[in-house]
């Protein structure tokens, strides 16, 4: 299933709902489907805000696929090269006084899926997010479908 979305905040919710329904229909439980949806929320928000600099005329593509063991969402955009998985995600610590505002999106995106990969594919960013059916992160397949 392919979804084309405009680069606007309103598109984020539509993407999340489509991903959640697709995941539920392909073997993920409610909690894992919701977690994958939130990871997609963060990934799409990141593209809208940063890769596209908030330009609503730009569009991005979500490709949803499912196998026996996993549901996969590929997010493609033609914005600036940006690897959201580069570097260590800093673990947040402390109360409101000690912390900065923001900076949690990419951490959530990474932590809410079982597997995340990024490649620069020609002039496009391609981010692949996977959630395993049956919640068994050890059942990793050798490579993405």
């Amino acid at each position: 299933m392919i979804l084309t979305l405009e680069g606007t905040p309103a598109a984020v919710g539509r993407a999340v709902e489509a991903v959640r329904r697709f995941a539920l229909g392909n073997g993920l439980g409610e909690a894992k489907a919701a977690a994958l949806g939130v990871a997609v929320d963060e990934a799409v928000t990141n593209v809208v805000r940063h890769a596209y600099d908030g330009d609503p005329a730009r569009s991005l593509t979500l490709s949803l696929s499912a196998g026996r063991d996993a549901v996969q969402v590929d997010i493609l955009d033609n914005g600036h090269p940006f690897d959201p998985l580069a570097g260590e995600a800093a673990l947040p610590e402390g109360g409101a006084e000690e912390r900065d505002v923001g900076g949690l999106g990419l951490l959530l995106m990474r932590e809410l899926v079982d597997e995340a990969r990024y490649i620069r594919d020609g002039d496009r960013n391609k981010l692949m997010l996977r959630a395993f059916v049956g919640h068994s992160p050890d059942r990793r397949e050798p490579g993405l479908a």
Binding site: G13, V38, A96, L108
Partner: protein
């Protein structure tokens, strides 16, 4: 739009209870934040956000909560959340947001902790 936040607000004693519904994401957070921050801008305000109708919160929503928590600290107020579903609880765990705002199982628990009689 099923996912939109429609936030209701009520007063319980001296506490304000905000009850958003649906997603708290990049699209729906701004109106929630516009209600939350003015409440916490009053000295000594007590605000509970009841998450029982919220399907999920994204980092945009967490940012608004962080701004609210900082405002509460600055003005001597209190901000707490309650009734998180499994997804929201997981997001709080990952982001360690229980260090930012107190989390209660339900609204009664939050109100009795924050507004002792």
């Amino acid at each position: 739009m099923g996912g939109m936040v429609a936030t209701s607000e009520k007063k319980v004693g001296n506490a304000s209870v905000l009850s958003p519904t649906g997603r708290v994401d990049v699209e729906t957070t701004p109106p929630l934040q516009e209600r939350l921050l003015p409440l916490l801008g009053q000295a000594g305000a007590v605000v509970v956000i009841d998450f029982s109708g919220v399907s999920y919160i994204s980092s945009s929503g967490l940012r608004a909560l962080m701004l609210g928590a900082k405002e509460a600290k600055a003005k001597g107020g209190k901000l707490a959340v309650c009734a998180l579903n499994e997804t929201v609880s997981e997001i709080f765990r990952i982001s360690r947001f229980n260090q930012v705002v107190p989390v209660y199982a339900d609204l009664n628990g939050a109100l009795s902790a924050l507004t002792p009689t």
